[in-house]
Amino acid sequence: MDVSAAAAIGAGIACLGMGGAGIGLGNIFGSYLAGALRNPSAADGQFGRLIFGFAVTEALGIFSLLIAFLLVFK
C-alpha cells in the first residue's frame, strides 16, 4: 500500500477518537443540565467545574484530532 494512502486511512481512524470525546462532553453537559433543572439555585456555583470538565475532556478529543492533522500535513 502507498504510504500516503495509509497515512490518510490512519488520519480517518484517528478521528474516531473524537467520537469518544463527543460522548463524554454530551454526558458532562447532559448531567449538568439534569442537575441544574433539579436544583437551579446550586447550578451557578458548579459552572466553573462544568467548564473545567469540558476543557479536560475536550483535550482528549483534541489529542486524536492532533494525530490526524500530523498524519495529513506532515
Partner: protein, 252 residues
C-alpha cells in the same frame, strides 16, 4: 490551484532572527524567543500600568488586574488552602504567561509560543519540579505517603502504589500535551477552514458564494479559540494548584 500553497503547518516554523552559535550549540534568538519576550513585556506592562495609578474607585484597567488577582487567589485558596498562598506568585505568573501567549497567538502573523511542546513541557516540568522539591523539603520522606492512599487492603497495595506512581509521572506529560495540542490543533483548524475559502473562491462566482460558509465557520472558530485560549490557561493554573496541594498535604 491556490489550495496547494496553503500549508497549515507553516505558521509553526521557527526562524532565527539573531543567529548565535556557541561551540556547536544553536542558541539563536528565534521568532519564538521574540514572542516570548513580547508576552512577558505585555503581561508586565499590563500589571504595571494597572497598578501605577491605584485608586479606591478602580479604573477599568485596575479592575481588570484586580479581577485577575482575585480569580487566581480564590482558585489557589480553594484547592490548596491558605498555606498554598505562598505559591501565589508562581501560579499567577504561569497563568498570565500562558493566557497572554495564547491570546497573542490568535492575532494574524503572530507566533503562538504555547503551540510548541518544548515550551509547555518546560512550564510543566517547572511545576512538577516545584512539587517534588517542596514536598521533600517540607515533609521529608513522609512526602512518599502521596503514593500510599489510606484504607487500602494490603493485597491491593502494590498495585495501587504502582498506579499512583505512574499517574504522578504522567502528570508533566498530560499537563504539557493538553495545552500544546489544544493550541496546535486549534490553529491548524483555523488555517484549514481559511484554506477552504481560498480554494473555493478559485471556482468563479458560485465558488465565492459558497466560500461564505467556511468563512462563517472560521469566524465562529476564532471565537471558540478565544474561549479555548482562556480555558487552557485556566486549566493549567487549576491543575498547578491541585499538584501544589499534593506537595502541601501529601496524605490524601
Amino acid at each position: 490551484m491556490a489550495a496547494d500553497k496553503v500549508d497549515p503547518i507553516h505558521q509553526f516554523q521557527l526562524h532565527p532572527i539573531i543567529p548565535i552559535h556557541i561551540g556547536g550549540l544553536d542558541l539563536s534568538f528565534t521568532n519564538s524567543g521574540l514572542f516570548m519576550a513580547v508576552v512577558v513585556i505585555v503581561a508586565s506592562a499590563f500589571l504595571y500600568f494597572a497598578t501605577s495609578n491605584r485608586a479606591l474607585i478602580p479604573s477599568r484597567l485596575q479592575s481588570l488586574a484586580e479581577m485577575a488577582y482575585e480569580f487566581i487567589a480564590k482558585m489557589l485558596r480553594d484547592s490548596a488552602g491558605t498555606q498554598g498562598m505562598k505559591f501565589f506568585p508562581l501560579v499567577f505568573s504561569l497563568f498570565m504567561f500562558v493566557l497572554v501567549a495564547n491570546l497573542l497567538g490568535l492575532f494574524p502573523y503572530f507566533f503562538t509560543v504555547t503551540s510548541h511542546i518544548i515550551v509547555t513541557f518546560a512550564l510543566a516540568i517547572l511545576v512538577i519540579g516545584t512539587v517534588i522539591v517542596y514536598g521533600f523539603m517540607k515533609h521529608g520522606f513522609k512526602f512518599l505517603k502521596l503514593f500510599v492512599p489510606h484504607g487500602i487492603p494490603m493485597v491491593l497495595l502494590p498495585l495501587v502504589v504502582a498506579i499512583e506512581i505512574i499517574s504522578f509521572l504522567s502528570r508533566p506529560i498530560s499537563l504539557s500535551v493538553r495545552l500544546f495540542a489544544n493550541m496546535l490543533a486549534g490553529h491548524i483548524t483555523l488555517k484549514v477552514f481559511s484554506g477552504f475559502v481560498v480554494s473555493l473562491s478559485a471556482f468563479g462566482f458560485v465558488g465565492v458564494a459558497g466560500a461564505v460558509l467556511p468563512l462563517a465557520m472560521a469566524v465562529a472558530l476564532t471565537a471558540l479559540e478565544f474561549l479555548v485560549a482562556f480555558l487552557q490557561a485556566y486549566v493549567f493554573a487549576v491543575l498547578t494548584c491541585m499538584y501544589l496541594n499534593d506537595a502541601l498535604h501529601p496524605g490524601h
